[in-house]
Subunit: 280 residues, 2 copies
């Protein structure tokens, strides 16, 4: 069924922006800036940070001291020359006038810009985020409630499968090996590759995918891809760990355990009562 | 504790890109393009779609026929003139050469571009998405496994609180009213506003926030913000619905219910056994 067009509005376009080897300018050094620095480092960018040393949040100071991908300038924003060769600008300062000025300079130069706390000066917003290896999740309330975004983030965090990050890593490697074995962009081979990868991901569970090693991937491609089928983990030399260790007992047994414990307690109490009654 | 710098790499910068009244060019009309159109419409953009009519996916055709925000051209990409006044370009065509050409033209003009299926020609990737009113969630595996992203999306979908979308909508309205009552960007008033909103969101649950109406918001501001406190839902004229209908019984009672049922069953069985034994 096609979507109801009247519901398609009021949102943002959620994106995973690529910053590998790009140059990001961050103006400001407070706690908001420290969060920005972390997000940008995750995306493999180089950072130029402009902020008087007195304004540096301890975490910002830690990044400046320990990351070789940050060039730090102990001063205020100086003007258009600070934007040369810059691919993205993030400001997090209290000075509204300077913020708006930086935004205008960026817009002239078509440099994507985010000015903390001034939505009209933002080409994009940040959301609340979760990261586990190559898995990243963003929760956006489209600027309406950062706090609710955080509450929802915590709930989501709890329900992401335990081995999701590892599974994604391994499936990524398998996909790269498959592309080497059956190269080509798009067309029939691209579609066949996609179908087979979907079949593998649908037939194996996260925990099994996370167990894949080089040897097992080779067997999976030899005996699976080549014969257009999906072998089981055991067929390619793997052994499921299916460990439930670490999870609370209740969760492992569902309602069975409390029912059983209740039954035993009920039986014991009644037996004791009746036995005492009999003796007296 | 500061984050381990050696783990901060290999990801993307997840963003909520703002497209209100911006102009997005989509080249291609297949099923990938139809998904792009939907995402872009959600973000309130105008779309120019370039694709021969014979290549239109039924959903693309539906959007072209029914949305007044799409300008459709029944032809192939014609050259740089198609990029005039465009703020973002998304291509989803099988022609790799044309795709790369469009990407090069966009890079020269600093227009953000995504070329489906050719990662090096993408300034950004799309992830798997969830939307519920103003709430948007994106799951990215950083290009490693779209299928696992989908599986994780379904799990996350199940654990988003039922009234999250409505709650976010209402909190957004409350925040706007608060900004009208206590205006100013940043500084002490900004911080106080933020603290109070955080307190409201932390003390009320999603279901209660979703119940807020104009009258209740006014009372919440009068009796809460003005007196620097957070009244309860009942104090501002609300009545919690606290419906647990629809949820399985077990979930409502936690392990208490099965334990109690087990206790009663155990007691009854033992009583019966002992009574029969006594009689015989």
């Amino acid at each position: 069924m096609p979507p109801d067009l009247s519901t398609l509005h009021g949102g943002s376009l959620l994106l995973a922006w690529q910053l590998k080897d790009k140059h990001v300018l961050i103006v400001g050094g407070g706690d908001v800036a420290s969060g920005r620095i972390e997000s940008v480092l995750v995306a493999d960018a180089r950072i130029t940070l402009i902020a008087p040393r007195a304004c540096l949040h301890p975490l910002t100071q830690y990044f400046v001291d320990n990351s070789d991908r940050i060039t730090y300038h102990d001063r205020l924003f100086a003007g258009p020359q600070d934007l040369e060769g810059v691919d993205m600008v993030l400001t997090a300062i209290d000075d509204v006038e300077t913020s708006r000025h930086i935004c205008a300079l960026c817009r002239e130069r078509r440099i994507p810009v985010n000015v903390a706390d001034i939505p009209p000066s933002c080409d994009f917003y940040f959301g609340s985020q979760i990261r586990s290896g190559p898995l990243q999740v963003m929760i956006s309330t489209n600027g309406r409630s950062p706090k609710l975004a955080n509450i929802i983030r915590r709930r989501i965090e709890e329900c992401i499968p335990e081995h999701a990050g590892e599974a994604i890593e391994k499936v990524g490697e398998l996909r790269t090996k498959l592309k080497e074995r059956a190269p080509g962009v798009g067309g029939e081979v691209g579609r066949r590759r996609m179908r087979w990868m979907v079949d593998v991901c649908s037939s194996w569970d996260m925990e099994e995918l996370a167990l894949l090693d080089d040897k097992m991937m080779k067997r999976l491609l030899d005996e699976g891809w080549e014969k257009n089928q999906v072998p089981k983990l055991e067929d390619v030399g793997g052994k499921t760990r299916k460990s439930t260790a670490g999870r609370p007992l209740e969760e492992q047994a569902g309602p069975l355990l409390p029912t059983a414990l209740g039954f035993i307690a009920g039986a014991a109490c009644t037996a004791l009562i009746l036995l005492f009654k009999q003796r007296s």
